[in-house]
């Protein structure tokens, strides 16, 4: 019954010249998404400094899906050189991510333009 998780990756640069890696998700994000999402995250160049997570195409997120985001934040913290930002969440999930405290470790932006402007 779960809709498959889709992940696409793209790279862009901002005015400062910084390179930004964007992971764009689609479908459902749940416990079944772990390998797909972490696989895509791990496939980023290890030197990726600025990573944005795009939830614009996500239909459904549950607490296990949120835990996958936390896992990425944990790994980014261990690397010590990577910043993760988030955009494209619905207002409801912006609230949920804030309730859990994710905004302490990853800035939540309304859309891609706002997220890129903050890099």
């Amino acid at each position: 019954m779960q809709t498959a998780t889709k992940v696409s990756t793209r790279t862009t640069s901002v005015a400062s010249g910084r390179i930004v890696n964007i992971l764009a998700f689609g479908g459902d994000i749940s416990s079944a998404s772990k390998d797909t999402i972490l696989g895509a995250y791990h496939s980023l160049n290890g030197a990726a400094r600025n990573v944005l997570l795009d939830f614009t195409g996500v239909d459904y997120i549950n607490s296990s899906g949120i835990a996958i985001v936390i896992q990425m934040l944990l790994e980014a913290g261990q690397a010590g050189t990577q910043t993760i930002g988030i955009f494209g969440l619905s207002p409801h999930f912006q609230k949920v991510f804030t309730m859990v405290g994710i905004n302490k470790y990853a800035a939540l932006h309304k859309d891609e333009a706002a997220a890129l402007a903050a890099v």
Partner: protein
């Protein structure tokens, strides 16, 4: 929809099927006049309750089902999610994002916190198999609070 209407949904113990209960709850809440943001709160709470029932209550046993009973009254929508487990022993503490991000606490384990945060009432009842349930309530009088 009349006050006192009750709808029962029976779900197999399969992750993903919680979306059927979410949709049913959302439809009933919309008919009752709940706002879109409260309906989103309810959908997440119902999903997490069903996931807990499937995963922890019924432990993914395909021979067991999860019952979801949605009951309306003039000012509230009540949702009971029933499973065959032994019930929630103790509610886990609120998630500590610092501990999670530093690997000192399991990244998962946020479902009960989200349920408690998103509805007006959430209470867990222990019972024999098929009788343990969580009771969720959202109230219309909170709409303008």
């Amino acid at each position: 929809m009349k006050n006192g209407t009750s709808v029962r949904v029976i779900l197999p113990s399969e992750l993903g099927i919680e979306k059927v209960a979410m949709s049913t709850a959302a439809s009933m809440a919309a008919i009752m006049g709940f706002s879109a943001d409260r309906i989103e709160d309810l959908k997440t709470a119902v999903a997490e309750a069903c996931i807990n029932a499937i995963e922890h209550g019924n432990q993914f046993d395909s021979g067991l089902t999860v019952g979801v009973v949605l009951s309306t009254s003039a000012d509230q929508l009540e949702v009971k999610v029933i499973d065959d487990g032994v019930g929630v022993k103790t509610a886990p503490h609120a998630p500590d994002i610092d501990r999670k991000v530093h690997g000192e606490e399991d990244a998962r384990g946020m479902g009960i916190f989200l349920i408690q945060s998103l509805v007006d009432e959430a209470k867990w009842y222990k019972g024999p198999p098929g009788k343990s349930f969580v009771r969720l309530v959202i109230r219309l009088d909170k709409e303008n609070a």
